[in-house]
Each structure stands twice: as structure tokens, then as C-alpha cells.
């Protein structure tokens, strides 16, 4: 058995691209334990070079296949590509980490492409923070482009896709109730629209309807960037050159313009909120452990109401600064790597 390396030691190995260290440090990020924070803080400070691409779309839109193909296309330029896939365990394939891996098989053996699934298991707490930490870890490990794949359902997933330099929203034909793409509010976050599965003739309808809808949103003020609509086929490879070109073009916007600066500020704001939320929740959960059983009893017997009691609880909880060992809530989450 190897010695358990500290996360700071892992960080040193990550910096030189040690794949085992990357996997372990990401697992530590997922664990979210206080003793690993110093290393993750260290990661953040030296990260910031990678171009982060968020890819999102409704379930069944062919995101994973598209991401695999996109990773290979981007890889062709010589850059190393990291992929972080948030797996929703799973509205569509019942725990699709394996499913994703299988679909990404084509690229899984290239050492220049690193793929990591983050399982959310419905517990959204901490997912955004852990994902963005994982992105930074890949950044520090020298991956020039990091793709974050999320399912465009649920606010957190959408926000994570948004917390990237370039957001790609994937729509696909033949899903029946694609109106959920609107309901989920993911169309308006797109920097690039992709209609996948364009080898199918019903993709025409998707392209037509998407363009007609996007036209409604156009104004007569000249924008710095207008989201292109690109049809792709992961089977034939059609459209991927165009997609890569659009991503490259948008990268310049993201890194070299005022628009990009504002975007990075918004990402930092999101990051701050999500991390604070996570820390707060951790402290809250730790404190709850010592909660007297009398409070729920009073509530169950309707001596009081949930609102008054919750206010009382928040007033009396110490919400103390957590310390190593006082941290339980992440234990419910599976360890992957």
C-alpha cells in the first residue's frame, strides 16, 4: 500500500501532469474536506490559463458523443484536452458514467485527453464548487482546454455550464418534448449553438425552429458576438471543423475583450457564492449533529411552526468554523477515482 499523500504533495505532482495525482486530487476536491482546502486554494492561484468550454443540452441531445468528438478535434491542434462530465445519475441512462465512458471510448486511450466524470447523485450541494476545482486542477496540470459537460436540466448544471469562457448549447432532433430546452433556460446562455445528429433529416426542423426562435431575440445593436448555429453529425464528423473554428474565435473574445473580462468577473462571483454556500452548508450540517432532539418533537406535536422554529434554530446554532474531523456531509457521496 502506498503512503497516503497529502493534497499539497499531490498538487506538486499534478503540476507536472501526473495522471494518478490528478485523479486523486480531484477526488479530494469532491470530498471537500477542510484539510484539503489549502491545496485547492493553491490550485486556484496558479490556474487561469486554460480555455474552459461548457457544453450543455437536454438529456439525449448527444452531448457525450459530441464532447468526445470535439475533444478529438481540438486535440488535433496539439493542445491537451481535459473533460469534466457531471453525471446526473441519471435521468437518462441510470448511472451513465459507464455509458459516457463507452461513448467516449474513441478518445479514452489518448494520454493527451483526460476524462473525468463527477457523479452528483442528486445531491447538488458542493457539486459546482467541486467541478470548478476539478477544472482548475486540469488547468494546472497543463490541459490547455477543459470541457465541462453538464446536463442542461436544473439550475446548478446550467450555471456550471455558464461558468466557462465559452458555452456550447446542444439541441437535437427527435427528442419529442424539446420545449424543455426553453424551460430550462439554456438557449439564452449559448455562445455557440450546436444542433447534433444532423445526419438525420428531422434535424432540419430543429435547425429551422432554433433559428426562427433566435431571430426573435435579435436587436439592431451591433453585438460583439452573435451565437452561431452549427449543425454537427457525430457519425460523419460533419460540422466539427466549423465548431472548432467557432470555439477558437470565441476564445479570443473570452480572453481579449471587455466582454470576456466581464464574463470572468461573473464566473468569479459565481465561484465565490458557490464556495461560500458550500462552506456554510458544511458548517450548518456539522452543527446540526449536536442538535437536541427536542426541536423536532415540538414541531411534530405542533407546539410551534416550521418557520418560527427554523429561525430559532439559526439563532442558536453556533455555525462554528469547522475543523478537520468535524465534517460529515460529504461522506454520503461515492468516491470515484
Amino acid at each position: 500500500m502506498t503512503r497516503r499523500l497529502s493534497s499539497l504533495e499531490l498538487l506538486e505532482r499534478v503540476k507536472v501532469g501526473d495522471q494518478a495525482a490528478i485523479a486523486r486530487l480531484i477526488s479530494r476536491a469532491e470530498g471537500g474536506k477542510p484539510e484539503d482546502r489549502a491545496a485547492l486554494a493553491g490550485v486556484y492561484k496558479i490556474a487561469g490559463r486554460a480555455h474552459i468550454i461548457g457544453v450543455t443540452g437536454v438529456p439525449g441531445s448527444g452531448k457525450s458523443t459530441l464532447v468526445a468528438r470535439l475533444a478529438a478535434s481540438l486535440r488535433a491542434s496539439g493542445r491537451r484536452i481535459g473533460v469534466v462530465a457531471i453525471d446526473p445519475s441519471s435521468p437518462y441512462s441510470g448511472g451513465s458514467i459507464l455509458g459516457d465512458r463507452v461513448r467516449m471510448n474513441a478518445v479514452a486511450t489518448d494520454p493527451g485527453i483526460y476524462i473525468r466524470s463527477m457523479a452528483s447523485h442528486g445531491a447538488t450541494g458542493g457539486m459546482a464548487r467541486a467541478t470548478l476545482d476539478a477544472v482548475d486542477i486540469l488547468d494546472v496540470a497543463g490541459f490547455g482546454t477543459v470541457i465541462v459537460e453538464t446536463v442542461g436540466v436544473g439550475q446548478d448544471e446550467v450555471e456550471i455550464a455558464r461558468a466557462s469562457h465559452t458555452t456550447v448549447v446542444v439541441s437535437a432532433p427527435g427528442l419529442g418534448d424539446e420545449i424543455q430546452a426553453i424551460k430550462a433556460g439554456i438557449l439564452e446562455i449559448a455562445d455557440i449553438h450546436v444542433v447534433s445528429k444532423c445526419d438525420r433529416s428531422d434535424a432540419n426542423r430543429t435547425l429551422v425552429d432554433l433559428k426562427q426562435m433566435l431571430m426573435l431575440g435579435l436587436s439592431h445593436e451591433k453585438p460583439e458576438w452573435t451565437a452561431p448555429v452549427i449543425g454537427t453529425s457525430s457519425i460523419s464528423g460533419a460540422g466539427f471543423d466549423e465548431l472548432v473554428a467557432a470555439i477558437e474565435k470565441h476564445r479570443l473574445i473570452a480572453f481579449e475583450t471587455e466582454r470576456g473580462r466581464k464574463r470572468r468577473l461573473a464566473i468569479a462571483d459565481f465561484r465565490l457564492r458557490k464556495t461560500a454556500e458550500d462552506l456554510l452548508l458544511a458548517r450548518f450540517n456539522a452543527s446540526l449533529g449536536q442538535l437536541s432532539r427536542s426541536l423536532p418533537t415540538r414541531l411534530a406535536e405542533r407546539q410551534t411552526d416550521p418557520y418560527s422554529l427554523a429561525s430559532e434554530l439559526l439563532r442558536t446554532l453556533p455555525l462554528r468554523e469547522d475543523s478537520p474531523g468535524a465534517h460529515h456531509e460529504r461522506d454520503a457521496r461515492p468516491k470515484i477515482a
Binding site: 438557449l187 430543429t206 432554433l210 431571430m215 451591433k222 452573435t226
Partner: protein, 563 residues
């Protein structure tokens, strides 16, 4: 090669052009670059700095030809507007038959020479005025017609043997045509003297305008029946107006408009030929309808090329012998989608220029849009100005004194050739991919249009395509004092009263018997649906009765929205 030019002249010309580019052009470019690196037509076709005879050297002399002679590039008739100017046909329709009848008489008094009828949404979609779906729409954007009584009011006091009447209606067109026939019979008119046009172009509905009721196959069969009925009974009537206008308004490029329209035309011809009718028995009455868009010369080239392509299609593909079968005749309307709400008066100028394009392109009839149509259906004032615009072109500019005055223009001929080439490329693609109906079902046309529409919208947004008053030369805080056409809230009540009156006075068992018989006719594709439909409307059957009855047999066409 154009036999009038020998190789030596062409070589001399080429060296002349080369030296001009090296000297004059180069000197100017050093002082000032051109406004763009490359120039394009609205439809995205690249255009050169200038054109010379070398650009048309490859054109066979007979392809340009002469007016009224195959392939009709220079016009369908030899004397064109020297004989008679185009029909000035301003579309009108609102309220009940009586309301629109008044507008018609106003327009005739102003010098209009043909009528064009716009129907309200319920009529277009086959609903009676008292159907719950019609609520709030009766007579709003067109005239409401449920029964023959409505049509009698609509054309009351108008001589239908003298003035041609066009009806803009599609999925329910055959019922309106039946009413028109019934009206003529009731007045004792000679059906073969009644002239006019019914749009009845269902394919472009699936492609662009989206007004359809039944699935594609029975819908096309109805169109076929209109064509064969008119071929046998109404010699001067156009049973279809194969339309590019709506395709264009849905955002298509001029090339897509022309090519897709001809592709649809091919389907109709094929459908009628399947009945055993000879091409020369009906093809002469196929009429077309195109938009006149904003790119002045491109539109002219489009019209000229469409004529040449159709002539070649009819002759080479369908073996037509009669020149009338090859003669593409078209109605033209200026482009409503180019009109703006901001600085709306300038719409008059846009419309005038587009109308001039249509006239140089050799249209047979013309509608010029009202300046207020970005707000509502046009007022009388707007229609008068629009009509005057045509009258100025016809009477003051003298452009009507020469047939095809732009014929021989190096640029116009070269662009016409380019259009012909590109139209046939599209038609070849359609043939190679299973034909127009198959491609409609696959959404291929729709996608081509959406792509171009989206590109155009982006170009307007980023200012690459100027729209005066909207993205260029805008004015702060506009107060438009435009007076729009009022909607009379009593319309529906008046309309419904007449429909109900017809229903209570008709021979109900007979109507039901005829409706059942109609289903039998509809089931048998070899029979023509027109004669029985005429009998139905003569007996007080409403449009809704007929449409609903056939929905039971054919069902309806649905496009599931993707988003």
C-alpha cells in the same frame, strides 16, 4: 459562344480590361479603397466591378432572344406594355363582403384594372365565422367568406366578365373557386369569359406560409382537380398561382424563391399529367407569383431567368409544343417584409423602386404595398398612394415604351445567366433527392430558407445589411402620426348572422346527402372534387361544413414544433 463575337475581338477586349485594371483601376484604388472587399447581391451572389461583352459572350443568341418568343427571357409577349400595361391589382379584403366590395369600387374608381381578394384567417383555414377558432379574427385581416351569399356580396355590381379577379387562398381554395363558378352561373355568365386567378398553391404553404389543413397528398390532389376543372371549363381562368412571394417573405433568398417555386410547379404539372391530360391542354393557364425584393437588378435577372427556365422545363422536360404552355406569366408584389414602421413614409420610396424592378422584369400584374403596412392592413389613403406609384411608372416615366429595355445589358444578361444556372442546379438537387414533396417532408426547403433568413437577420443586426431608418439614419423618438385601418367590432356579428340565415333556409337533408357523396368522390382519386363542391355551395353548404367533413376522411397535417 455568341456567334457575333470572334476570338480575336474577345482577346482584344481581354487585354483592354487587363490594361484598364492595371492603370485606371489601380490608380484609383491607391487613392481610395472600394467600400468593400467584395460586393454581393442581396441573394449573396458575387458581383464584379463592371461587366463587359465578354461576360455574355457564351450566351447563345436565342437564349436572350426576343420578347414573346421562346425562351421568353425578354418577356412573355412581343409588344408587352406597348400594347397594354400590366394589370394594376391592389389586394383588398376586410370585414364582410359588403365592406370589401366598397373598397374594390373605390380602387376601380382610382384607376385599378384588376381585383385581388384577401381573405380573413378563418376563411383561409377553412373555419366558418361562427366556429370557436374564428373568435376575434372574423374580417380582421381579410374578408370573411363562409357561403355563396358572402361571395355574392363581395363581387356585387362588378362585371366578372370584364374585370379579372384574383383570390389569395390556399388550403380551402377549391371551395372559393366553386363559389366563384356558382356565382358566375347564377349571374348567367359565360365561364369561359371569366378571367382571374386563384392562388391554390398548397406546396408553398408547407414550405413557407404554413396555412394548411390536410396532409400533402390529398391537398395536392385538390390542386390537380382545380387545374383540370378549369382546363375543361374556364379557358381564361388561372387555376393556380404558383407562388414564390411567401417563400421570399419567410426569409428565402431570391434564388431560393425562384428555384423552389419552379420545383413546386414541376410537381403540379406531374400530378396533372398522371390524370392522362396532355401538357398543352392545361399548362398555358399555370400562373406564377413572385415578390419584387430590394436588390434592383437581381430581381430583374430573377424574373428573366425564371421565364427562361420555365420555358425550357416545359419544352424539354414535359414536351410541351404550344408556346403558351412555355410562357411564364406572373403577378408581382413588392416586398412587404422590407417595409419598416420607423419613418414609415419612406416605404413609398422602397415600394416605388421595387415596382420599377417588377416592370423592368416584365410582370403581368402588380400589387404595390401601402406605406402603412408595417402597422396594419392598408388604409384607403395608403392604397391610393400605392396605386399612384404604379400609375406614375406606367404613364410618366416612359419605361413602358420599350420592351425589355435592360435586355443586352452586360450585367443583367450575365446575372440572368447566373440565375438560370443556379436555378437548374437546385432543380437537379431536388430531382436527385426524391423530388419536391419528399424534400418538403424532410424539411429541406424549410432549412434552406431558415438558414438564409437567419444570415440576413444577423447581417441586419450587425449593420452589414443597411435598413434605412432601422439600423442606419435612425431618428430619435419617433412619433408616427400614421392613421391605421380601423377594425369594426360589429363585423363578426353581421357576418355570423348571414351564415346562420343561410343554414336555416337551406335544404338540410340534401346538404347532408351531398356531403356524404363528397366523401365518396374524395375517396376516389380518379374523380374530380370540383363539380360536387360547386353543387354543395349552390345549396347553401358552408366552407366549414365541407372542410370539416373531409377532415373526417383525410385527417389534418400537423407540424410538431421542435421548440
Amino acid at each position: 459562344m455568341n456567334e457575333m463575337l470572334d476570338q480575336r475581338s474577345l482577346d482584344r477586349l481581354a487585354s483592354e480590361v487587363a490594361s484598364w485594371e492595371a492603370q485606371e483601376v489601380a490608380a484609383f484604388l491607391r487613392k481610395q479603397a472600394e467600400r468593400r472587399e467584395q460586393f454581393f447581391t442581396t441573394g449573396g451572389i458575387p458581383v464584379k466591378r463592371t461587366y463587359t461583352v465578354a461576360d455574355t459572350a457564351d450566351t447563345p443568341i436565342e437564349d436572350v432572344g426576343l420578347p414573346g418568343r421562346y425562351p421568353f427571357t425578354r418577356g412573355p409577349y412581343p409588344t408587352m406594355y406597348r400594347g397594354r400595361v400590366w394589370t394594376m391589382r391592389q389586394i383588398a379584403g376586410f370585414g364582410t363582403g359588403e365592406d370589401t366590395n366598397k373598397r374594390f369600387k373605390f380602387l376601380i374608381a382610382q384607376g385599378q384594372t384588376g381585383l385581388s381578394t384577401d381573405f380573413d384567417m378563418p376563411t383561409l383555414m377553412g373555419y366558418d365565422s361562427d366556429h370557436p377558432m374564428s373568435d376575434g379574427e372574423v374580417g380582421r385581416e381579410g374578408v370573411a367568406v363562409d357561403t355563396l351569399a358572402d361571395m355574392e356580396a363581395l363581387y356585387d355590381g362588378i362585371d366578372l366578365e370584364k374585370i379579372s379577379v384574383s383570390m389569395t387562398i390556399n388550403p380551402s381554395a377549391w371551395i372559393l373557386l366553386a363559389m366563384y363558378v356558382a356565382l358566375g352561373k347564377r349571374r348567367g355568365l359565360d365561364l369561359n369569359k371569366m378571367s382571374g386567378t386563384i392562388q391554390a398553391d398548397i406546396l408553398k404553404e408547407y414550405v413557407a406560409q404554413k396555412e394548411f389543413i390536410y396532409p400533402i397528398a390529398p391537398s395536392v390532389r385538390i390542386v390537380r382537380d382545380c387545374i383540370t376543372y378549369c382546363a375543361e371549363n374556364m379557358r381564361r381562368y388561372n387555376p393556380i398561382n404558383i407562388s414564390g412571394y411567401h417563400i421570399s417573405e419567410a426569409g428565402a433568398s431570391p434564388l431560393q424563391e425562384a428555384a423552389f417555386t419552379l420545383a413546386n410547379g414541376i410537381v403540379y404539372v406531374e400530378e396533372v399529367l398522371k390524370t392522362g391530360m396532355e401538357v398543352d391542354e392545361f399548362a398555358a393557364r399555370l400562373a406564377f407569383y413572385f415578390v419584387s425584393q430590394d436588390d434592383f437588378f437581381e430581381e430583374i435577372a430573377k424574373f428573366r431567368a425564371a421565364r427562361r427556365c420555365w420555358a425550357k422545363i416545359m419544352k424539354d422536360r414535359f414536351g410541351a409544343k404550344n408556346p403558351d404552355s412555355m410562357r411564364l406569366r406572373f403577378h408581382c408584389q413588392t416586398a412587404a417584409a422590407t417595409l419598416t414602421a420607423s419613418q414609415y413614409q419612406i416605404n413609398i420610396v422602397r415600394t416605388a423602386l421595387q415596382a420599377l424592378s417588377a416592370v423592368f422584369g416584365g410582370c403581368q400584374s402588380l400589387h404595390t404595398n401601402g406605406y402603412d403596412e408595417a402597422f396594419a392592413i392598408p388604409t384607403e389613403d395608403a392604397m391610393r398612394v400605392a396605386l399612384r406609384t404604379q400609375q406614375i411608372i406606367a404613364e410618366e416615366t416612359n419605361v413602358t415604351n420599350i420592351v425589355d429595355p435592360l435586355g443586352g445589358s452586360y450585367f443583367v444578361e450575365a446575372l440572368t445567366n447566373e440565375y438560370e444556372k443556379r436555378i437548374f442546379e437546385v432543380l437537379d438537387y431536388v430531382d436527385a433527392n426524391g423530388g419536391a414533396i419528399r424534400l418538403i417532408e424532410e424539411g429541406w426547403f424549410q432549412k434552406q430558407i431558415a438558414d438564409f433568413a437567419y444570415e440576413t437577420a444577423l447581417r441586419k443586426q450587425n449593420g452589414d445589411k443597411p435598413v434605412i431608418g432601422v439600423n442606419k439614419f435612425t431618428m430619435a423618438e419617433e412619433v408616427h402620426g400614421v392613421e391605421t385601418h380601423p377594425y369594426d367590432p360589429g363585423t363578426a356579428e353581421r357576418q355570423i348572422a348571414r351564415t346562420r340565415q343561410v343554414r336555416v333556409t337551406r335544404d338540410e337533408p340534401k346538404v347532408q346527402r351531398l356531403l356524404d357523396a363528397l366523401v365518396d368522390v374524395a375517396k376516389d382519386e380518379t374523380r374530380n372534387i370540383m363539380p360536387l363542391t360547386i353543387e354543395l355551395v349552390e345549396n347553401g353548404t358552408t366552407m366549414g361544413d365541407i372542410v370539416e367533413k373531409l377532415k373526417g376522411l383525410w385527417g389534418t397535417y400537423r407540424e410538431t414544433p421542435v421548440f
